[in-house]
């Protein structure tokens, strides 16, 4: 069966798998963060409100996953059609996972309340353009972290196979998160009926 949007390119299963790959990091981060606030909310109000908070977080994660999936699918659509669809899925999915890892690293850095390394801080403080210098350091790192895996997936069929197997396991976990999303929506409906 073909996907409705990209009939000549991806099957519905491939599209759904790509969606599940996109949903995985978004959900894991949202859940981690929401559960950090769970006790804070429960103490100040009640456990039902804290459950509501997690339900809202899951709903936002679901919407974000759909948005990101559409963008990733558009990107995958731009890739040459003579590549196998599995290769294109592996490439775009990996690219998204690596970018997600960077996003988590970026937020996690603040979360752990880590200060900048002293040398880097001194360099930034002394310069007139700290943001530009920071970008000049980080952007090449991000580019490399994306380009190297992309090249490996493109060149090596073994790595491609490994990535696809990894995605298969990931999608199973993501289905669990989608179930949580469904439960979250039920919670929000119950909350709306009981308020």
């Amino acid at each position: 069966m073909k996907s409705l949007l990209f009939q000549s390119k991806y099957t519905l299963k491939e599209s759904f798998d790509l969606f599940l790959v996109c949903a995985f990091p978004i959900h894991i981060w949202a859940l981690l963060m929401a559960f950090r606030d769970f006790s804070w909310v429960a103490e100040r109000t009640r456990i039902w409100d804290a459950i509501g908070l997690v339900a809202y977080a899951l709903l936002i994660a679901l919407l974000e996953s759909i948005g990101v999936f559409i963008l990733v699918l558009l990107l995958a659509w731009l890739l040459p059609t003579y590549w196998q669809s599995s290769k294109r899925i592996a490439l775009t999915g990996s690219l998204f996972l690596i970018l997600s890892a960077w996003a988590m690293l970026g937020q996690g850095y603040f979360l752990m309340q880590n200060p900048l390394p002293e040398g880097l801080f001194t360099l930034l403080a002394a310069s007139e353009h700290p943001a530009r210098i920071l970008a000049a350091i980080i952007l090449p790192l991000i580019t490399l972290s994306v380009a190297i895996p992309a090249l490996l997936i493109y060149k090596s069929s073994k790595i491609l196979e490994g990535v696809l197997q990894f995605f298969e396991r990931l999608t199973l976990l993501s289905i669990f998160y989608l179930l949580l999303d469904a439960m979250g929506i039920v919670v929000l409906i119950v909350r709306s009926l009981t308020q």
């Binding site: 990091p25 963060m33 606030d37 908070l53 809202y56 936002i60 937020q107 603040f110």
Partner: protein
């Protein structure tokens, strides 16, 4: 079996949904059910955290509120008006219920009024009027939501914010508190640098930065905001209010609660630095109080104190300009000819004794002495009332002046000159934000003003030695308005008499909550 609703029928129904929703929006504002052509409207304007001590109308040497002075020329000015508590929740709950905080029990941050008191409120009392309310302040919105059945139109808080994104509290209006927290935590990285969302928060941040760029130039100390980044313009709120009032069915009662001059003090460029070169200097150097906020034992920084006060004063000046604009517009469109116009605050702000702002157990005059100016329709002369009055008096007074029956459940009295002042009247204020409202209040701060004396009672605070710790202070407000000379030990007869009255009143209020 044939389905009762075909796909085509469903699509048809779905098609008429948007116009139906649009129509509902217009039909939501009902026609006032009260048909008394002579009934006067009521507008209550509350500026948050506005201390009477920093207002030129009340003798402050900086000319912080020239427009209020102008309004006062045709109004009644109350010189000794007291808030019910020293922060928004108890202060506004006292105004809305006509009861002291130990009665309405909305004493904690963002808490609500006890159920058996919430049913008696200002809006309920004006049932025949069209009832309209708006507040920038979250705590006020919590109270308004509690009594929403008695208000015809509560303007959503975020309608008057600069950014009005697809926020969850708007999508889930029945669950605003948690939906709002979830939305904030999900998309706003703010100063923390992290959010629930990995990517949406980035996009949201970039979009809002772009939106704010132009306004930043207008507000050198930051754009007026609630919390970290819920930006708003007082100008927008005033514009909305002017237009809403002209469209509101009459008679109406409107409660409008605007955040300035509440911290953070962010005046517009025209008012920024307005008092930089005056001669007030450090103002008064008062001794540190036991509730001072210094983490260590360092002395009070008079420079910091003076800076904070100056920034606050500039913000008042900005808020006053908008008050003036509002007054002029209401004057020009004829609204004030048949409207009672009330200007007040929910609590004050202080910059002395090592205490800054209003999040304090202390009940010194700067946090509890608030403005009250009442403009009667058609009033030409200024009247000054020097008797002590309280926020709880507003509700019975408004009922009295609109010729409605007075409730028995209020702690307030009809304000002079609309009735004769009651001699030797007791005025109270209560602060108990760390107490369980369903138990006898402890820790608690309570104040009694009688004649020219003010007795303050502090109990149960850690700094006083814990649950059993107590402290009394007595000041003669007439001879010592700055509360520098504690008479508690020097005038034992007066101190004992007031102490007994205050403790009896507190005990009586706590009676229903004894185990």
């Amino acid at each position: 079996m044939k389905p009762s609703l075909s796909r085509r029928d469903f699509l048809k129904l779905f098609g008429i949904l948007p116009p139906a929703l649009l129509a509902a929006r217009f039909l939501r504002e009902p026609v006032a059910p009260f048909n008394r052509p002579d009934a006067k409207n009521i507008i209550i304007i509350v500026f948050d955290a506005l201390s009477a001590r920093n207002i030129s109308l009340y003798g402050y040497p900086r000319r912080t509120m020239p427009n209020l002075e102008r309004i006062a020329e045709h109004a009644t000015v109350y010189h000794q008006h007291f808030a019910g508590g020293n922060f928004t929740t108890p202060g506004v709950a006292s105004l809305l219920t006509g009861t002291y905080p130990w009665t309405h029990r909305a004493v904690g941050l963002g808490t609500t009024i006890v159920a058996n008191r919430a049913m008696f409120n200002l809006f309920k009392a004006f049932e025949g009027y069209y009832r309209l309310a708006y507040s920038h302040n979250n705590f006020v919105n919590t109270l308004l939501r509690q009594i929403r059945a008695d208000v015809d139109n509560i303007k959503p808080q975020k309608d008057l914010f600069i950014r009005n994104p697809l926020a969850f509290d708007r999508l889930f209006p029945w669950d605003t508190d948690i939906a709002s927290v979830a939305w904030q935590r999900a998309v706003k990285k703010g100063g923390n640098g992290y959010a629930y969302s990995l990517f949406l928060s980035e996009i949201y941040g970039k979009l809002t930065q772009g939106q704010m760029r132009d306004l930043r130039a207008l507000f050198p100390r930051g754009i007026t905001r609630i919390g970290e980044d819920d930006y708003f313009l007082l100008e927008d709120a005033v514009d909305w209010m002017i237009s809403a009032i002209t469209r509101t069915p009459q008679p109406f009662i409107g409660y409008f609660h605007f955040l300035p001059p509440h911290r953070p003090y962010c005046p517009r460029r025209e008012y920024f630095g307005a008092f930089d070169n005056d001669t007030i200097g450090y103002w008064l150097d008062k001794p540190k109080h036991i509730f001072n906020q210094n983490a260590n034992d360092s002395p009070i920084s008079l420079k910091y104190q003076a800076t904070q006060r100056r920034w606050y004063d500039e913000f008042i000046l900005y808020a006053d300009a908008e008050l003036g604009r509002l007054y002029d517009a209401l004057q020009a469109n004829g609204t004030l000819q048949n409207t009672w116009f009330i200007f007040t605050s929910d609590h004050g702000e202080m910059f002395e004794r090592g205490i800054f702002g209003h999040r304090t157990p202390a009940l010194f005059q700067p946090v509890i002495h608030i403005p009250l100016v009442i403009l009667q329709p058609g009033q030409q002369e200024r009247r000054d009332v020097y008797a002590s009055t309280s926020a709880v008096d507003l509700l019975p007074t408004l009922l009295h002046v609109t010729e409605q029956p007075l409730p028995t459940w209020t702690d307030g009295q009809i304000l002079p000159p609309f009735a004769d002042p009651i001699p030797d009247r007791n005025i109270y204020a209560v602060e108990a934000k760390y107490s369980d409202p369903h138990k006898p209040l402890n820790p608690v701060s309570a104040m009694l003003v009688k004649e020219n004396y003010k007795l303050t009672y502090y109990a149960g605070y850690e700094v006083l030695g814990g649950a059993a710790g107590k402290r009394f202070e007595l000041y003669d407000l007439e001879a010592d308005p700055e509360e520098l000379n504690d008479l508690y030990l020097k005038q034992p007869a007066i101190a004992n008499r007031l102490q007994q009255e205050l403790l009896e009143a507190l005990q009586q209020a706590n009676q229903p909550y004894q185990d």
